[in-house]
Symmetry: C2
Subunit: 200 residues, 2 copies
Protein backbone atom coordinates (compact mmCIF):
# COMPACT_ATOMS: atom_id res chain seq x y z
CA UNK A 1 0.00 0.00 0.00
CA UNK A 2 1.28 3.46 -0.87
CA UNK A 3 2.77 5.60 1.89
CA UNK A 4 0.54 8.67 2.25
CA UNK A 5 2.04 11.87 3.65
CA UNK A 6 0.28 13.70 6.46
CA UNK A 7 0.40 16.93 4.45
CA UNK A 8 -1.45 15.34 1.50
CA UNK A 9 -4.15 14.11 3.87
CA UNK A 10 -4.43 17.55 5.45
CA UNK A 11 -4.68 19.22 2.04
CA UNK A 12 -7.41 16.85 0.90
CA UNK A 13 -9.32 17.36 4.13
CA UNK A 14 -9.15 21.12 3.76
CA UNK A 15 -10.29 20.92 0.17
CA UNK A 16 -13.16 18.55 0.80
CA UNK A 17 -14.18 18.72 4.41
CA UNK A 18 -14.15 14.93 4.45
CA UNK A 19 -12.77 13.15 7.53
CA UNK A 20 -9.23 11.95 8.12
CA UNK A 21 -9.65 8.23 7.53
CA UNK A 22 -11.77 8.64 4.40
CA UNK A 23 -9.20 11.03 2.93
CA UNK A 24 -6.38 8.66 3.76
CA UNK A 25 -8.21 5.78 2.13
CA UNK A 26 -8.96 7.85 -0.96
CA UNK A 27 -5.29 8.80 -1.27
CA UNK A 28 -4.22 5.20 -0.87
CA UNK A 29 -6.59 4.24 -3.68
CA UNK A 30 -5.07 6.91 -5.92
CA UNK A 31 -1.40 6.54 -4.96
CA UNK A 32 -1.38 9.89 -3.22
CA UNK A 33 -2.78 11.94 -6.10
CA UNK A 34 -5.01 14.61 -4.53
CA UNK A 35 -6.97 15.47 -7.68
CA UNK A 36 -7.75 11.82 -8.30
CA UNK A 37 -8.62 11.36 -4.64
CA UNK A 38 -11.25 14.12 -4.92
CA UNK A 39 -12.71 12.26 -7.91
CA UNK A 40 -12.57 9.02 -5.97
CA UNK A 41 -14.55 10.60 -3.14
CA UNK A 42 -17.07 12.06 -5.56
CA UNK A 43 -17.50 8.67 -7.20
CA UNK A 44 -18.22 7.21 -3.77
CA UNK A 45 -21.35 9.32 -3.65
CA UNK A 46 -19.80 12.23 -1.85
CA UNK A 47 -21.27 14.48 -4.50
CA UNK A 48 -21.02 17.52 -2.32
CA UNK A 49 -17.24 17.39 -2.17
CA UNK A 50 -16.49 19.76 -5.06
CA UNK A 51 -18.79 22.46 -3.83
CA UNK A 52 -17.21 22.72 -0.44
CA UNK A 53 -13.62 23.59 -1.24
CA UNK A 54 -12.37 26.58 0.68
CA UNK A 55 -15.53 27.17 2.66
CA UNK A 56 -15.44 27.25 6.43
CA UNK A 57 -17.82 25.51 8.75
CA UNK A 58 -18.56 28.36 11.14
CA UNK A 59 -22.22 27.97 11.84
CA UNK A 60 -23.60 25.07 13.81
CA UNK A 61 -24.74 24.22 17.30
CA UNK A 62 -23.46 24.10 20.84
CA UNK A 63 -25.37 21.35 22.60
CA UNK A 64 -25.13 19.22 25.69
CA UNK A 65 -26.08 15.79 26.92
CA UNK A 66 -26.61 15.29 30.64
CA UNK A 67 -26.98 11.65 31.58
CA UNK A 68 -29.96 10.97 33.90
CA UNK A 69 -28.76 11.33 37.49
CA UNK A 70 -26.55 14.31 36.65
CA UNK A 71 -23.27 12.48 37.30
CA UNK A 72 -22.05 12.68 33.71
CA UNK A 73 -22.34 15.48 31.18
CA UNK A 74 -21.07 16.36 27.73
CA UNK A 75 -20.74 19.75 26.04
CA UNK A 76 -20.31 19.64 22.26
CA UNK A 77 -19.80 21.99 19.33
CA UNK A 78 -20.65 20.78 15.83
CA UNK A 79 -20.30 22.99 12.80
CA UNK A 80 -21.80 23.43 9.38
CA UNK A 81 -21.69 26.35 6.95
CA UNK A 82 -25.09 27.97 7.23
CA UNK A 83 -27.59 28.69 9.94
CA UNK A 84 -30.20 27.13 7.65
CA UNK A 85 -28.55 23.70 7.88
CA UNK A 86 -27.92 24.14 11.61
CA UNK A 87 -31.68 24.39 12.12
CA UNK A 88 -32.54 21.23 10.18
CA UNK A 89 -33.76 18.14 12.00
CA UNK A 90 -30.96 16.10 10.40
CA UNK A 91 -28.26 18.32 11.83
CA UNK A 92 -29.89 18.59 15.24
CA UNK A 93 -30.34 14.83 15.42
CA UNK A 94 -26.68 14.41 14.43
CA UNK A 95 -25.57 16.76 17.25
CA UNK A 96 -27.77 14.90 19.72
CA UNK A 97 -26.47 11.50 18.62
CA UNK A 98 -22.84 12.56 18.80
CA UNK A 99 -23.25 14.10 22.28
CA UNK A 100 -24.86 10.90 23.55
CA UNK A 101 -22.19 8.78 21.89
CA UNK A 102 -19.47 10.80 23.62
CA UNK A 103 -21.13 10.28 27.00
CA UNK A 104 -21.24 6.53 26.37
CA UNK A 105 -17.77 6.04 24.90
CA UNK A 106 -15.81 8.93 26.39
CA UNK A 107 -13.25 9.45 23.64
CA UNK A 108 -10.14 11.43 24.54
CA UNK A 109 -10.14 13.66 21.45
CA UNK A 110 -11.97 14.34 18.19
CA UNK A 111 -9.20 12.96 15.95
CA UNK A 112 -5.58 11.81 16.04
CA UNK A 113 -4.23 15.29 15.47
CA UNK A 114 -5.95 16.60 18.55
CA UNK A 115 -4.79 13.89 20.96
CA UNK A 116 -2.40 15.58 23.38
CA UNK A 117 1.11 14.36 22.59
CA UNK A 118 1.86 13.89 26.30
CA UNK A 119 -0.90 11.27 26.42
CA UNK A 120 0.72 9.37 23.55
CA UNK A 121 4.18 9.64 25.11
CA UNK A 122 2.75 8.27 28.32
CA UNK A 123 1.03 5.36 26.56
CA UNK A 124 4.14 4.61 24.49
CA UNK A 125 6.25 4.41 27.63
CA UNK A 126 3.83 1.97 29.27
CA UNK A 127 3.58 -0.23 26.15
CA UNK A 128 7.35 -0.30 25.73
CA UNK A 129 7.79 -1.33 29.35
CA UNK A 130 5.13 -4.03 28.91
CA UNK A 131 6.85 -5.42 25.80
CA UNK A 132 10.22 -5.43 27.56
CA UNK A 133 8.75 -7.21 30.57
CA UNK A 134 7.39 -9.84 28.19
CA UNK A 135 11.01 -10.43 27.12
CA UNK A 136 10.58 -9.23 23.52
CA UNK A 137 13.71 -8.21 21.55
CA UNK A 138 13.90 -4.50 20.79
CA UNK A 139 12.87 -4.56 17.12
CA UNK A 140 9.81 -6.69 17.94
CA UNK A 141 8.99 -4.49 20.93
CA UNK A 142 8.94 -1.42 18.67
CA UNK A 143 6.44 -3.09 16.36
CA UNK A 144 4.24 -4.13 19.26
CA UNK A 145 4.29 -0.57 20.61
CA UNK A 146 3.33 0.83 17.21
CA UNK A 147 0.45 -1.61 17.01
CA UNK A 148 -0.77 -0.74 20.48
CA UNK A 149 -0.59 2.99 19.80
CA UNK A 150 -2.64 2.40 16.65
CA UNK A 151 -5.21 0.56 18.73
CA UNK A 152 -5.17 3.34 21.33
CA UNK A 153 -6.00 5.88 18.62
CA UNK A 154 -8.78 3.72 17.22
CA UNK A 155 -10.35 3.35 20.64
CA UNK A 156 -9.93 6.93 21.84
CA UNK A 157 -10.50 9.14 18.81
CA UNK A 158 -14.16 10.06 18.44
CA UNK A 159 -14.17 9.93 14.63
CA UNK A 160 -12.80 6.39 14.56
CA UNK A 161 -15.13 4.94 17.18
CA UNK A 162 -18.05 2.74 16.08
CA UNK A 163 -21.26 4.72 16.61
CA UNK A 164 -23.06 3.39 19.71
CA UNK A 165 -26.44 3.37 18.01
CA UNK A 166 -25.11 1.49 14.95
CA UNK A 167 -21.72 -0.17 15.28
CA UNK A 168 -21.49 -0.75 11.50
CA UNK A 169 -20.84 2.98 11.17
CA UNK A 170 -17.98 4.99 12.60
CA UNK A 171 -18.64 8.55 13.79
CA UNK A 172 -16.64 9.65 10.77
CA UNK A 173 -19.08 7.73 8.54
CA UNK A 174 -21.87 9.63 10.26
CA UNK A 175 -20.15 12.95 9.44
CA UNK A 176 -19.56 11.89 5.83
CA UNK A 177 -23.15 10.76 5.42
CA UNK A 178 -24.51 14.06 6.71
CA UNK A 179 -22.01 16.01 4.59
CA UNK A 180 -23.33 14.28 1.48
CA UNK A 181 -26.92 14.73 2.51
CA UNK A 182 -26.87 18.45 3.31
CA UNK A 183 -24.15 19.51 0.87
CA UNK A 184 -22.18 21.43 3.47
CA UNK A 185 -18.91 20.87 5.25
CA UNK A 186 -19.71 19.28 8.62
CA UNK A 187 -17.19 19.15 11.46
CA UNK A 188 -17.12 18.14 15.08
CA UNK A 189 -14.87 20.81 16.51
CA UNK A 190 -14.68 20.10 20.23
CA UNK A 191 -16.25 18.50 23.28
CA UNK A 192 -15.89 18.38 27.06
CA UNK A 193 -16.82 15.46 29.28
CA UNK A 194 -17.38 15.93 33.02
CA UNK A 195 -17.79 12.89 35.22
CA UNK A 196 -18.72 13.69 38.81
CA UNK A 197 -15.73 13.71 41.16
CA UNK A 198 -13.13 13.32 38.42
CA UNK A 199 -12.08 16.99 38.32
CA UNK A 200 -8.33 17.24 38.07
CA UNK B 1 -3.22 45.11 57.57
CA UNK B 2 -1.45 41.83 58.39
CA UNK B 3 0.35 39.99 55.58
CA UNK B 4 -1.40 36.65 55.13
CA UNK B 5 0.52 33.71 53.67
CA UNK B 6 -0.97 31.70 50.82
CA UNK B 7 -0.38 28.48 52.77
CA UNK B 8 -2.44 29.74 55.73
CA UNK B 9 -5.28 30.63 53.38
CA UNK B 10 -5.08 27.21 51.75
CA UNK B 11 -5.09 25.47 55.11
CA UNK B 12 -8.11 27.40 56.30
CA UNK B 13 -9.94 26.68 53.05
CA UNK B 14 -9.23 22.97 53.34
CA UNK B 15 -10.37 22.94 56.92
CA UNK B 16 -13.54 24.89 56.33
CA UNK B 17 -14.52 24.65 52.71
CA UNK B 18 -15.06 28.42 52.75
CA UNK B 19 -13.94 30.43 49.72
CA UNK B 20 -10.62 32.14 49.18
CA UNK B 21 -11.58 35.74 49.83
CA UNK B 22 -13.62 34.97 52.93
CA UNK B 23 -10.72 32.94 54.36
CA UNK B 24 -8.27 35.71 53.58
CA UNK B 25 -10.49 38.28 55.24
CA UNK B 26 -10.94 36.04 58.30
CA UNK B 27 -7.17 35.62 58.59
CA UNK B 28 -6.63 39.35 58.27
CA UNK B 29 -9.11 39.89 61.08
CA UNK B 30 -7.23 37.42 63.29
CA UNK B 31 -3.66 38.32 62.33
CA UNK B 32 -3.16 35.04 60.51
CA UNK B 33 -4.27 32.75 63.38
CA UNK B 34 -6.08 29.84 61.76
CA UNK B 35 -7.91 28.67 64.88
CA UNK B 36 -9.19 32.16 65.56
CA UNK B 37 -10.10 32.54 61.90
CA UNK B 38 -12.32 29.46 62.14
CA UNK B 39 -14.02 31.03 65.15
CA UNK B 40 -14.35 34.29 63.25
CA UNK B 41 -16.07 32.49 60.39
CA UNK B 42 -18.37 30.64 62.76
CA UNK B 43 -19.26 33.90 64.45
CA UNK B 44 -20.20 35.31 61.06
CA UNK B 45 -22.99 32.78 60.92
CA UNK B 46 -21.04 30.13 59.08
CA UNK B 47 -22.15 27.66 61.70
CA UNK B 48 -21.46 24.69 59.46
CA UNK B 49 -17.75 25.39 59.34
CA UNK B 50 -16.65 23.16 62.20
CA UNK B 51 -18.51 20.14 60.95
CA UNK B 52 -16.88 20.12 57.58
CA UNK B 53 -13.21 19.80 58.41
CA UNK B 54 -11.52 17.02 56.50
CA UNK B 55 -14.58 15.97 54.57
CA UNK B 56 -14.51 15.97 50.82
CA UNK B 57 -17.21 17.34 48.57
CA UNK B 58 -17.47 14.42 46.17
CA UNK B 59 -21.15 14.22 45.47
CA UNK B 60 -22.97 16.87 43.52
CA UNK B 61 -24.21 17.54 40.02
CA UNK B 62 -22.96 17.87 36.50
CA UNK B 63 -25.28 20.27 34.74
CA UNK B 64 -25.39 22.43 31.64
CA UNK B 65 -26.88 25.64 30.41
CA UNK B 66 -27.46 26.08 26.70
CA UNK B 67 -28.43 29.60 25.75
CA UNK B 68 -31.46 29.79 23.43
CA UNK B 69 -30.23 29.64 19.83
CA UNK B 70 -27.54 27.03 20.67
CA UNK B 71 -24.62 29.36 20.04
CA UNK B 72 -23.39 29.37 23.63
CA UNK B 73 -23.21 26.57 26.17
CA UNK B 74 -21.83 25.89 29.62
CA UNK B 75 -20.97 22.61 31.31
CA UNK B 76 -20.57 22.79 35.08
CA UNK B 77 -19.69 20.54 38.02
CA UNK B 78 -20.74 21.60 41.51
CA UNK B 79 -20.04 19.46 44.53
CA UNK B 80 -21.45 18.76 47.95
CA UNK B 81 -20.87 15.88 50.35
CA UNK B 82 -23.99 13.75 50.07
CA UNK B 83 -26.33 12.66 47.34
CA UNK B 84 -29.15 13.78 49.63
CA UNK B 85 -28.08 17.42 49.43
CA UNK B 86 -27.38 17.09 45.69
CA UNK B 87 -31.04 16.25 45.17
CA UNK B 88 -32.42 19.20 47.11
CA UNK B 89 -34.12 22.07 45.29
CA UNK B 90 -31.68 24.52 46.89
CA UNK B 91 -28.65 22.77 45.47
CA UNK B 92 -30.21 22.26 42.06
CA UNK B 93 -31.26 25.91 41.87
CA UNK B 94 -27.73 26.90 42.89
CA UNK B 95 -26.24 24.77 40.08
CA UNK B 96 -28.69 26.25 37.59
CA UNK B 97 -27.98 29.82 38.71
CA UNK B 98 -24.21 29.36 38.54
CA UNK B 99 -24.36 27.78 35.06
CA UNK B 100 -26.46 30.68 33.79
CA UNK B 101 -24.17 33.20 35.45
CA UNK B 102 -21.14 31.63 33.74
CA UNK B 103 -22.86 31.88 30.35
CA UNK B 104 -23.57 35.57 30.97
CA UNK B 105 -20.22 36.60 32.47
CA UNK B 106 -17.82 34.07 30.98
CA UNK B 107 -15.23 33.98 33.76
CA UNK B 108 -11.82 32.54 32.88
CA UNK B 109 -11.48 30.34 35.98
CA UNK B 110 -13.19 29.35 39.22
CA UNK B 111 -10.72 31.16 41.48
CA UNK B 112 -7.33 32.89 41.44
CA UNK B 113 -5.43 29.68 42.01
CA UNK B 114 -6.89 28.11 38.91
CA UNK B 115 -6.14 30.97 36.53
CA UNK B 116 -3.47 29.72 34.18
CA UNK B 117 -0.22 31.50 35.02
CA UNK B 118 0.52 32.09 31.33
CA UNK B 119 -2.62 34.24 31.15
CA UNK B 120 -1.40 36.35 34.06
CA UNK B 121 2.10 36.67 32.57
CA UNK B 122 0.52 37.80 29.33
CA UNK B 123 -1.68 40.39 31.07
CA UNK B 124 1.22 41.62 33.19
CA UNK B 125 3.33 42.18 30.09
CA UNK B 126 0.58 44.20 28.42
CA UNK B 127 -0.07 46.31 31.53
CA UNK B 128 3.61 46.99 32.02
CA UNK B 129 3.96 48.11 28.42
CA UNK B 130 0.89 50.31 28.81
CA UNK B 131 2.29 51.94 31.94
CA UNK B 132 5.65 52.52 30.26
CA UNK B 133 3.97 54.07 27.23
CA UNK B 134 2.15 56.39 29.58
CA UNK B 135 5.59 57.56 30.72
CA UNK B 136 5.30 56.30 34.32
CA UNK B 137 8.51 55.81 36.35
CA UNK B 138 9.30 52.18 37.10
CA UNK B 139 8.19 52.06 40.74
CA UNK B 140 4.85 53.66 39.87
CA UNK B 141 4.45 51.37 36.85
CA UNK B 142 4.86 48.33 39.10
CA UNK B 143 2.08 49.56 41.37
CA UNK B 144 -0.19 50.23 38.43
CA UNK B 145 0.46 46.74 37.08
CA UNK B 146 -0.31 45.18 40.45
CA UNK B 147 -3.56 47.13 40.60
CA UNK B 148 -4.58 46.07 37.11
CA UNK B 149 -3.80 42.43 37.79
CA UNK B 150 -5.97 42.65 40.91
CA UNK B 151 -8.77 44.06 38.79
CA UNK B 152 -8.24 41.34 36.19
CA UNK B 153 -8.68 38.68 38.88
CA UNK B 154 -11.80 40.35 40.24
CA UNK B 155 -13.35 40.48 36.80
CA UNK B 156 -12.35 37.01 35.60
CA UNK B 157 -12.59 34.72 38.62
CA UNK B 158 -16.04 33.22 38.94
CA UNK B 159 -16.10 33.33 42.76
CA UNK B 160 -15.33 37.03 42.84
CA UNK B 161 -17.85 38.11 40.22
CA UNK B 162 -21.09 39.80 41.28
CA UNK B 163 -23.93 37.34 40.76
CA UNK B 164 -25.89 38.35 37.64
CA UNK B 165 -29.23 37.83 39.32
CA UNK B 166 -28.25 39.89 42.40
CA UNK B 167 -25.18 42.07 42.08
CA UNK B 168 -25.07 42.67 45.86
CA UNK B 169 -23.83 39.10 46.20
CA UNK B 170 -20.66 37.58 44.77
CA UNK B 171 -20.74 33.97 43.58
CA UNK B 172 -18.61 33.19 46.60
CA UNK B 173 -21.34 34.69 48.82
CA UNK B 174 -23.78 32.37 47.10
CA UNK B 175 -21.55 29.38 47.91
CA UNK B 176 -21.14 30.50 51.52
CA UNK B 177 -24.86 31.03 51.92
CA UNK B 178 -25.67 27.56 50.61
CA UNK B 179 -22.89 26.03 52.73
CA UNK B 180 -24.46 27.51 55.85
CA UNK B 181 -27.95 26.48 54.82
CA UNK B 182 -27.28 22.83 54.00
CA UNK B 183 -24.43 22.23 56.45
CA UNK B 184 -22.16 20.65 53.86
CA UNK B 185 -19.03 21.75 52.08
CA UNK B 186 -20.08 23.19 48.71
CA UNK B 187 -17.59 23.73 45.90
CA UNK B 188 -17.68 24.75 42.27
CA UNK B 189 -15.03 22.49 40.85
CA UNK B 190 -14.92 23.22 37.12
CA UNK B 191 -16.73 24.56 34.10
CA UNK B 192 -16.40 24.74 30.31
CA UNK B 193 -17.78 27.46 28.08
CA UNK B 194 -18.26 26.90 24.34
CA UNK B 195 -19.16 29.84 22.12
CA UNK B 196 -19.94 28.88 18.53
CA UNK B 197 -16.96 29.33 16.19
CA UNK B 198 -14.46 30.15 18.94
CA UNK B 199 -12.82 26.70 19.06
CA UNK B 200 -9.07 27.08 19.33
Amino acid sequence: MAEISASAVRKLREQTGIGLMACKKALQETDGDIEKAVDFLRKQGMAAVEKRAGRDALEGLVTSYIHPGNRLGVLLEVNCETDFVARTDDFQQFAKDVAMHIAAEQPKAVDRESVDSSIIDHEREIYLEQAKNEGKPENIAEKIVTGRIEKFFQENCLLEQPFVKNSDQSIEDLVTELTSKVGEKITISRFSVFRLGEAS
